[in-house]
Symmetry: C2
Subunit: 226 residues, 2 copies
């Protein structure tokens, strides 16, 4: 049985290489468009150092696969996430590095299957969010808050922000479409949150519901619109 | 443990009553806008009479709940849908009445969990679609084809088609949005297939991925755009 996280990692890689293939060559247009990558974030967990210790009995996560942004990675470790009434997701991937607060990011479909109703939030904004129970091989953590649906967002560096004429915290639109038979799922996502930081590559993060709704796997055109 | 189909039926009803509440009163505008209902179709199965007999050992489905369109209903009966490598969805609702061909409609998220890669198709267009196994209390049916992701579509009668200036098989856009904090998920779905028939009420059908991507549950505005 192929793990869903693995499937989604594969999908994500297909999408990446697809868009990389369709991205304009450097200097094709004046000014040249930045390479736009759209990634699907399958459900995942960010942990504090203290929670890594409790759940896995060790000091560090084990790097399995680098993510597109430098320094970020999918860990070998996974957790069981348990909701109310003992419904659970058995294998939720942990992303590193560790953070100051533990956070669980679910698509709404995941949350429904778990019996949790999380708000749509920017990463890190966890006040008044629901909790859950995390079960690892060495211990259990009861979170009183930290479960969110991550708000659709785009990471970019200052040069990309200048190219699009946007600033940190602005909102943009992302249109996903395809040629031919696959275009039945063309979709424009509004209110894509702009997050500008030094040293960050241009990358949109959607969740699995959004990626599936737009059939990103078969799309061949993505446009970021101010 | 609350069955997912029940949860989704509840969500659908909330959405319906919400939009009914926000619909303009009759003759509020010249010409008055038709009442627009957006329904989420959770994964479901349509069966032939012969398959009802094999799977349940009886001649007729049992009506559980009427759907919005007159004459259509959710049945008491559910099936297990089994994909390759024995992955399965244990409880998939059957919708009535019966049809000439058996058809399984899944969102992509469902299909990924089942290990099937269905194409996006108009209902009834089943050539070259994947099959699956249906398991009922009295028998088993092996489908060689019939699994699709239903293409997003809008049902309407001739008067509504005249109001919007569209014809059968045209394509429209559906914009879903909300006020305040819930607007982070505003989404425009393109290529919504128009299906015009006599005696049909105006109703958009999305699947769970689309409804969840746009957070339809918290939306308070839906617009059908030519």
């Amino acid at each position: 049985m192929l793990d869903r996280n693995v499937v989604e990692a594969i999908v994500r890689d297909v999408v990446r290489s697809n868009f990389a293939r369709h991205a304009p060559p450097p200097n094709a247009e004046p000014p040249s468009s930045p390479k736009l990558v759209v990634s699907i974030s399958a459900r995942h967990v960010h942990l504090t150092d203290a929670h890594v210790k409790i759940l896995f009995g060790k000091d560090k996560l084990t790097r399995m696969k680098d993510l597109y942004q430098d320094g970020f990675f999918a860990a070998e470790e996974t957790l069981m996430v348990v909701g109310p009434r003992k419904r659970m997701l058995p294998t939720v991937r942990i992303l590193g590095p560790t953070r100051k607060e533990t956070q669980v990011e679910l698509a709404f479909t995941d949350a429904i299957s778990l019996g949790i109703d999380p708000p749509v939030r920017e990463s890190g904004n966890l006040a008044d969010t629901p909790g859950c129970v995390l079960v690892g091989p060495k211990g259990v953590v009861q979170l009183t808050q930290g479960v969110i649906r991550a708000e659709r967002h785009v990471h970019m560096g200052p040069a990309d922000a200048a190219f699009y004429g946007v600033r940190d915290k602005d909102r943009m639109k992302l249109r996903i479409s395809a040629h031919g038979a696959a275009d039945g799922c063309a979709t424009t996502f509004e209110n894509v949150l702009v997050r500008v930081a030094e040293g960050i590559k241009l990358e949109v993060h959607l969740d699995t519901d959004e990626g599936n709704a737009a059939d990103l796997e078969h799309a061949d055109k993505v446009e970021l619109i101010k």
